[in-house]
Amino acid sequence: MFNNQQIMDLPKHSDISFKPLADKALLHTQLSSLLFYIPLIGALIAVCYFNEAFANNAQTYLLIGMPILVAVSMAYNIISVRLRGFAVRDHDIAFKKGVIWQQVTVLPLARVQHMEIHQGPIERKLSLASIKLFSAGGVSADLQISELTHDDCKNMRQFVQNYRQDDATTQAALVDE
């Protein structure tokens, strides 16, 4: 049977101190949200302008509902960004996220198959980027950390690449032995 009492020196992921995202992360999240809401509000205004019957029925609700929705969404974004954090350890990368369902994912560097760095138009303006780390068997990226500084992303990629080369060297040495 398995015994979980014997091991005393197990590194605990719950002790990890997570680093917050980039300073401009919140700004990027809010701008991305607005990019969703502004066309939606524009479309609703257009419908109200051209369809008087719809406007008479829905205008009041929309005038009250939409600002509340946008405000709630903005507040949610603030909490969401504050709750996100990442940590690069010697052998793995940890990432926490989530407001209602909080998740902590630990991805060992030895299992990273490939990486991608993404920069959207707003991210480029704000010098931000997202890194995606893929392992085998996942539906998409096992770990996607958005709203890091571009430099952080590049450093992380370099760190993982170096780790994999070191790992390969260690494996090769083992084979030689």
């Binding site: 049977m1 398995f2 015994n3 979980n4 091991i7 197990l10 590194p11 605990k12 992921h13 719950s14 052998h91 793995d92 989530g98 209602i100 369902w101 909080q102 998740q103 902590v104 994912t105 630990v106 991805l107 060992p108 030895a110 299992r111 198959q113 893929f134 392992s135 085998a136 068997g137 996942g138 539906v139 998409s140 096992d142 770990l143 260690t170 494996q171 083992l174 084979v175 032995e177």
Partner: protein
């Protein structure tokens, strides 16, 4: 060393051609590809043909004739250009193509499996297809058609010997002891037929018919239902209920046909099923129209899934799947199964399940797995969300539409039963054997599903918790594997944290190759 490499590279390549019988393979292969890929593209032309063209029979014959001749010519040219070579650098080189010439190089080290398929059209001449499976992708598969069985087996041995040489450090003395032991299992065709009853192959066949559902319904209505209805009216004088009886008869016949279809498909796939386990490798031979040989190294197995659905429970049979790495989630997992990368053992009784699993995990004994169950909070949450809430909604609907509100009570009872069954199924078990650590995760509802894997093969680990879960010191656990995942909801926070930490430690400290 570099000189030697240069000499090797300079050495001439001796190209070999496959047997002229391979032409048959190319004809079949391109016909299948035409039906699978090309037909859909020709659909607009087909619509124009059906609606616009007069003298359809003549033009259909002419088009069919041209297509057939083109297929034969293309296959012949493909055969002429198809050459392969086994280089001294332990590579398979392949020259192929008609309009677009391709040179394919596949290193022995990248070959995952060498499968030997024996299509029915090669049986009289005793030839086989030798399939080199590279990385789980169909496009990365190399097939040498129409080679002798001896040559294919020799190729397989050569590649596996090379790979074994590469992985020498992984093999310990304990493994070499088991290498000499050969285990085998054969499943009778009667048992295979049972798999037809258990599997969902008929549903898949039905799904394939979905686009033609209108045509089928029209046909059934005109040709069968009317006749059966007339028969009931004439023979039994049932005027009022003849239509109902006709409909019931049709449904019974359709279900019977679906079951028969499923049984037939199972027999085609798993006819004369034989499984061998020797030298840390599985070899499975099965199939009616095509005797397909699948080889899989034990260390390639990422996890074992043991499944039993409702029909399986009635028949007391399980299905076991040995899964290899697949990238791209569920879609790739399904593709992997279709691509025959997954070793499926279709119908096993519980003793056979234990004995097969023990070939890989010697400690495995399904009767001695002491599962730790999910906490009761999961039951309360699921009862609230999936039982109480739907029954309240049904009650509201029944109340508004003036239907008997007792229906909502029925919904509550049935859903509560299902939720409780699901809660009871969830469980995990961890085991240590000779310094290696394993996990078994159980889930299900009416059926049951076990996933067995060695911890170091995991890809990543994740904990999930809500505010209420954290207040109750609970967490859900998610372990990503190279083939699927293991999920265990609502366990004690300290247990979940420990499993994650321990799994990560296993991954990071174990130097064995996980692939």
């Amino acid at each position: 060393m570099s000189n030697a490499t240069l000499e090797d590279k300079a050495s001439p390549i001796y190209w070999q051609k496959v047997s002229p019988w391979a032409l048959l393979y190319f004809v079949v292969h391109f016909s299948v590809r035409f039906v699978k890929d090309g037909l859909l593209n020709l659909l607009p032309m087909l619509v124009v043909f059906v609606t616009q063209v007069e003298n359809k029979l003549f033009w259909a014959q002419a088009a069919g004739g041209i297509a057939l001749i083109s297929l034969l010519i293309y296959s012949f040219l493909y055969y002429l250009n198809f050459k392969f070579s086994i280089s001294s650098d332990n590579e398979i080189l392949l020259n192929k193509g008609v309009f677009k010439k391709e040179r394919l190089t596949l290193k022995f080290g990248r070959v995952q499996n060498v499968n030997i398929a024996e299509p029915f059209y090669f049986t009289p001449v005793d030839l086989v297809n030798c399939i080199f499976d590279a990385a789980g992708s169909v496009s990365q598969e190399v097939v040498l058609p129409g080679v002798t069985k001896d040559y294919a087996q020799q190729m397989r041995k050569q590649i596996f010997d090379f790979k074994a040489q590469q992985q020498q450090e992984v093999q310990n003395t304990e493994q070499s002891k088991t290498d000499t032991i050969e285990n085998s299992l054969s499943i009778s065709n009667k048992e295979i037929a049972k798999f037809g009853l258990m599997s969902n192959m008929a549903i898949l066949a039905m799904a394939a018919l979905a686009p033609f559902i209108n045509l089928i319904v029209d046909f059934l209505e005109k040709q069968i239902i009317a006749k059966v209805e007339g028969f009931y009216q004439q023979e039994f004088g049932m005027l009022a209920s003849a239509a109902t009886f006709a409909m019931i008869t049709l449904i019974v016949l359709l279900v019977f046909a679906a079951v028969m279809l499923s049984v037939t498909m199972s027999l085609i796939r798993f006819y004369n099923f034989e499984l061998y386990f020797k030298g840390q490798k599985f070899k499975r031979i099965a199939g009616l129209l095509e005797r397909h040989q699948l080889s899989m190294s034990m260390d390639k197995v990422q996890s074992i899934v043991i499944k039993q659905n409702l029909m399986g429970r009635l028949l007391k049979r399980f299905t076991v799947e040995c899964l290899q790495a697949s990238s791209g989630g569920i879609v790739a997992g399904v593709a992997a199964k279709q691509n025959k990368q997954t070793l499926v053992l279709p119908v096993l009784n519980s003793e056979q399940v234990d004995s097969v699993c023990q070939w890989i995990y010697p400690w495995f004994n399904s009767k001695k797995l002491a599962f730790k169950r999910a906490e009761r909070a999961l039951l309360y949450k699921n009862l609230g969300f999936y039982s109480l809430l739907p029954s309240v909604l049904v009650f509201g609907f029944c109340f508004i539409t003036d239907i008997n509100t007792l229906i909502s009570l029925g919904v509550l009872v049935v859903f509560s039963g299902l939720v409780t069954l699901s809660y009871q199924r969830y469980g995990y078990y961890m085991h240590e054997d000779n310094g290696r650590f394993y996990m078994v995760v159980r889930k299900g509802m009416i059926g049951v599903h076990y996933r067995v894997f060695e911890l170091y093969k995991a890809q990543s680990a994740r904990s999930i918790s809500t505010y209420l879960m954290r207040k109750s010191s609970l967490k859900s656990l998610y372990i990503q594997l190279a083939s699927g995942f293991a999920f265990m909801p609502y366990i004690k926070q300290q247990d979940a944290d420990f499993i994650i930490d321990f799994t990560i430690k296993q991954i990071e400290s174990d130097t064995r190759s996980w692939m």
